[in-house]
């Protein structure tokens, strides 16, 4: 009996042209890609659990990041430099007030001194405080003349501003000096700390995602031990054996990061109305900012990459250990 042509002669198997090789390469990857997705879909409960854990782990730093980003938006227009408010004694005439401003402006420590009349102060107060109606009840303006002072460059450290405040307090016609925006500086320092915390949390939780994916892939490798052995037995390289596991990790990371993005979006939607009410109560035009397209892409791509990396780390360790026995 003779063999058909297909089985005759030891011609090396595989594609023969570069174009064919590229097409075959793509086909193999596509098969692994779809195959690993199918395998995940066949274990919906385990897959859902893994994706949920990854999703929560990624949602936490993303949410924290948004909190910090939004707080920065709120405080951005407050400025970063310390300002001094110099309240003049009541009553002070406009001429006296202007003289005092010139005196203050003449000091070397002062960059700029702006005079705010009681009428201007009232208008500003009305616009900002949201208690405009209560102010209507006032028959006369109770506010004093105020000089807003911005310290010049080398004199704007906390200590120098303290000294300047004491100096200004001694000046003629001054009732009270307030370094009223020191808290903004503190807030910004707190926000910087928080931002650092976001990075730390992101790093720790990213390591967590690596561990989660790694563990899942390790279990998958153990479950498919026989298949790996046989594949190596008939000449499968480590890269060939590894590929479906890498894609599996990629899918899990991708699923987890999409879930994280969804969780954050749900959280934002839930917070929107109360934040809007809060902003209205302060008469502010603040609106909650969600994740920007660039940040969305970063989270989703980062999650997928973490999944891939977790699988890669585990594969490197475990697949080498599985050698065929006969």
């Amino acid at each position: 009996m003779s063999l058909p042509e297909e089985l005759r002669a030891a011609r090396p198997a595989g594609p023969r042209t570069i174009g064919g090789a590229a097409a075959t390469w793509l086909e193999r990857h596509a098969q692994s890609l779809v195959g690993s997705l199918g395998r995940l879909a066949r274990q919906p409960f385990a897959t859902a659990l893994t994706i949920a854990v990854i999703g929560i782990a990624l949602a936490l730093p993303a949410a924290l990041y948004l909190v910090v980003a939004n707080m920065r938006t709120v405080t951005a227009d407050l400025g970063d430099t310390v300002q001094l408010s110099v309240y003049l004694r009541l009553p002070t005439s406009e001429a006296q007030a202007k003289k005092t401003v010139q005196a203050i402006q003449a000091r070397v420590e002062v960059d700029q001194a702006v005079l705010v009349s009681p009428a201007e102060g009232l208008a500003e107060f009305r616009a900002m405080s949201g208690i405009g109606e209560a102010l209507e009840a006032l028959t006369e303006n109770p506010l004093p003349w105020v000089v807003k002072v911005r310290p010049a460059a080398p004199h704007d450290s906390a200590a120098a501003v303290e000294t300047l405040a004491v100096e200004l307090r001694k000046a003629d016609g001054v009732e009270l000096v307030e370094a009223d925006t020191a808290w903004v500086r503190r807030l910004h320092a707190i926000l910087d700390t928080l931002r650092q915390l976001v990075f730390l949390a992101a790093a720790v939780l990213a390591a967590g995602v690596l561990a989660i994916v790694g563990n899942t892939i390790r279990l998958e490798i153990n479950g498919r031990r026989a298949e790996i052995e046989v594949t190596k037995l008939v000449g499968g390289s480590n890269a060939f054996v590894r590929r479906p596991f890498l894609y599996s990790g990629l899918w899990q990371g991708l699923g987890g990061s999409l879930l994280a993005v969804a969780l954050v979006a749900i959280g934002m939607a839930a917070l929107e109305p109360p934040v809007a009410r809060l902003a209205a109560a302060y008469g502010a035009a603040f609106k909650l900012t969600g994740l920007q397209p660039r940040e969305l892409v970063a989270i989703v791509a980062g999650g997928a990459l973490l999944g891939w990396l977790g699988a890669w780390l585990v594969c490197g360790y475990h697949l080498r250990r599985i050698e065929p026995r006969a």
Binding site: A10, R11, V234, G235
Partner: protein, 223 residues
């Protein structure tokens, strides 16, 4: 094609499986590897398939010295050697098609050619039309033939088998052995480890007999 030169093999547990074993199998030759259980038949096949490396001496298969082959070159080496196991080592959760196509998938053969060659291989072992069956739905003889189809689908120049008829009744065993004979007839170098006396009598091929890790007879082509 297969050359053993004073091969000594000791396993990590201290067992000495082979000592001073030398023989040579020409390209296109077929031989039975015989000997009692524990004589070292499986070790010989493991050395050929590069599942083990010799402790001393050299094993040359397809012109490659297995002792000095880089780790990364092992997969490519194994693709040139078809291996059939007594327990067939099929993947029970995959259909026959996937099992047979596995070596082609590894080699990156396009889907259309894969279909053609899987059908040709299954036709050759008499299992055409069983592509969608799962291994456990097949009889022992059929499973063994799926294993053979998988071993030959990449057209390896060397085909080795470890007790391929061990679990089969005489008729099936004969059928399976006929298959090996046919592959040998088209130029494949074939080595079959067996202790099946009936088969040995039916096929007039060279016998390489080993006893306690040493060559007992068959070092050279029988006159």
């Amino acid at each position: 094609m297969i050359r053993f030169d004073r091969v000594f093999k000791r396993y990590p547990n201290g067992r000495e499986a082979l000592s001073e074993l030398s023989f040579e199998l020409e390209s296109g030759e077929m031989a039975f590897l015989t000997g009692n259980s524990g004589a070292g038949k499986s070790t010989v096949l493991r050395l050929i398939a590069l599942l083990e490396r010799p402790t001393r001496g050299t094993v040359v298969v397809n012109g490659r010295n297995t002792g000095s082959l880089r780790r990364g070159a092992i997969p490519a080496f194994r693709r040139q050697v078809g291996v059939v196991f007594q327990d067939h080592r099929l993947l029970d959760d995959r259909p026959v098609y996937d099992n047979v196509a596995l070596p082609l998938a590894i080699a990156g053969v396009p889907r259309r050619e894969m279909d053609k060659r899987v059908r040709a291989a299954l036709d050759q072992v008499g299992l055409l039309g069983r592509e969608r069956s799962f291994p456990l739905e097949l009889s022992a003889g059929e499973q063994q033939r799926v294993g053979i189809a998988r071993a030959v689908i990449t057209k390896p120049p060397v085909l080795i088998a470890d007790e391929p008829t061990g679990n089969l009744d005489p008729d099936l065993a004969l059928e399976v052995m006929n298959l090996f004979h046919r592959f040998n007839a088209v130029g494949v170098t074939v080595m079959v480890a067996t202790h099946d006396v009936h088969l040995l009598e039916r096929f007039r091929v060279r016998r390489i007999q080993i006893e306690r890790g040493r060559l007992a007879s068959g070092a050279h082509v029988a006159a």
